[in-house]
């Protein structure tokens, strides 16, 4: 049951020293840029730039490799599926067809299709390093504080903080319940027939839900007693003031975002077309 999760990795680097707010804004700006554009030049630039940031952060690839492997497998399957379902998607988008290899029917390999699928893959690659960095270099409690600072209501930010805080607790509860139910002969694996498997799953989830509802009761009473939600604002223990590095980073990311948007949309089409002359 040892499923690995990404968590905060403490290092002393310029990336770690940026405040959570800066990193959150940069992450949002970066993902929206990669989401909106389909321009190969922009995507390639975003990808290379994010690799550079990744190196600066001194996070080792081995520390996040389990996620990377998963993403690569996912991208591979995704690409296969795109080709299977729509081998002419690239031709449709770029409006020309350079056939490389003929296979049966519409399943020929065109340069346009290869180019389109490379773009899809690049789109994921441009976001992955930044997303990974954002997760492993931001302390969870600072993350909640940052959410509040960029305008999310502090009640919802606090709910996020609670979720992050209670993941390990709930995981421990779940494990205890699952083990004790298994000791009573309740099996959730493939050895049992499907209907019984589902019923058994419910018998493990149910105690977990009841204990979580108890937890909700206890925590909300404790918060009520401490006067949570009385004022309109709330201060955060882990919030840090902005430094010069934060302003510089935000400025650089802002420039990148605006440039990316201008280059992408100046000709009225979000795809970069190398095939038209």
């Amino acid at each position: 049951m040892a499923v690995e999760m990404l968590s905060y990795i403490d290092r002393k680097t310029p990336i770690h020293q940026l405040t959570g707010v800066t990193k959150l804004i940069c992450f949002i700006v970066w993902s929206s840029a990669a989401m909106l554009t389909y321009d190969t030049r922009i995507l390639a630039f975003l990808f290379i730039f994010s690799i550079v940031i990744f190196i600066v952060s001194k996070i080792k690839v081995s520390e996040v490799s389990f996620v990377l492997i998963f993403i690569l497998v996912f991208l591979f399957i995704n690409n296969m599926a795109i080709y299977l379902f729509s081998p002419q998607e690239g031709v449709k988008i770029y409006g020309s067809s350079h056939v490389l290899i003929e296979i049966a029917g519409r399943y020929n390999v065109t340069i346009e299709q290869i180019f389109y699928q490379c773009n899809v893959t690049l789109k994921y690659f441009a976001v992955i390093p930044i997303a990974l960095l954002f997760i492993v270099t931001t302390h969870p409690s600072e993350f909640a504080a940052s959410l509040n600072k960029i305008g999310v209501s502090y009640r919802i930010s606090y709910a996020v903080a609670l979720a992050l805080r209670y993941i390990p607790d709930v995981q421990r509860d779940f494990r205890t319940i699952a083990l004790s139910q298994q000791a009573r002969g309740i099996d959730m694996s493939k050895k049992e027939k499907l209907p019984i498997r589902i019923k058994n799953a419910a018998s493990i989830i149910f105690p977990l839900i009841l204990s979580s509802l108890d937890k909700i009761e206890t925590i909300s009473n404790a918060m009520e007693l401490r006067g949570f939600g009385k004022s309109n604002k709330r201060t955060w223990y882990s919030a840090r003031p902005f430094q010069r590095g934060d302003y510089v980073t935000l400025f650089v990311f802002g420039v990148i975002f605006v440039t990316a948007m201008v280059v992408t949309f100046h000709d009225g089409n979000r795809f970069y077309n190398p095939f038209e002359s």
Binding site: I71, R155, V160, R197, L208, S220
Partner: protein, 185 residues
């Protein structure tokens, strides 16, 4: 407490609910006969929380739970599918008042209502919203994303229909009914 603000109980329910949602999504997936797919019990839990705590809690548990789970286990967030979790939680939550689970009664009529609502909510989410956002954001081929949405939607409908109903029935039993006391003579 001002009327339009979230109550403390709802806030805590969102936080803990999101944590449980993540753990169920990661660990309590039941292997299904179809290879490489599993039955996601987390959506049954989401339905229960939405019915107990209402639409806002349901929507936010879906949003926070799914987004955090994507982030900590895959390193990137598939916003198109996260949006669906939010919508499903929100729509099922809208039926909370009608189902009134706190009364302790969860009879056949309510089971049918619950299942109609969850099928509509999930059908809207998985068959329309998820593919539409996939096409809009990632420009993926239409027939591929619609098939994906169809598969995810149907399997989630069955899960919520079976496990969600079981959970709600179990939860209703733990509530004491308003007319459960009898007078001893």
């Amino acid at each position: 407490m001002k009327g339009n603000q979230l109550s403390i109980k709802t806030i805590v329910a969102i936080g803990i609910g999101a944590a449980v949602f993540i753990i169920l999504a990661k660990f309590a997936a039941v292997p299904s006969p179809v290879p490489n797919t599993s039955i996601q019990t987390s959506y049954a839990f989401l339905a229960l929380m939405a019915v107990v705590f209402g639409p806002i809690a349901g929507g936010l548990i879906g949003l926070i739970g799914h987004a955090l789970n994507d982030a900590i286990s895959y390193g990137s967030v598939w916003w198109s599918w996260v949006a669906v979790s939010m919508i499903v939680g929100l729509l099922i939550g809208l039926a909370a008042k009608k189902l009134d689970i706190e009364s302790g009664i969860f009879n056949t009529k309510k089971i049918i209502t619950f299942n109609i609502v969850q099928v509509i909510a999930q059908g809207f989410g998985w068959f329309l919203v998820a593919p539409a956002l996939d096409i809009l954001i990632y420009a993926e081929p239409a027939n591929k994303v619609f098939l994906q949405g169809l598969f995810a939607g149907v399997s989630n409908m069955v899960t919520v229909g079976v496990i969600g109903t079981l959970l709600l029935a179990g939860y209703a039993k733990t509530r004491s009914r308003s007319n459960s006391l009898t007078r001893e003579l």
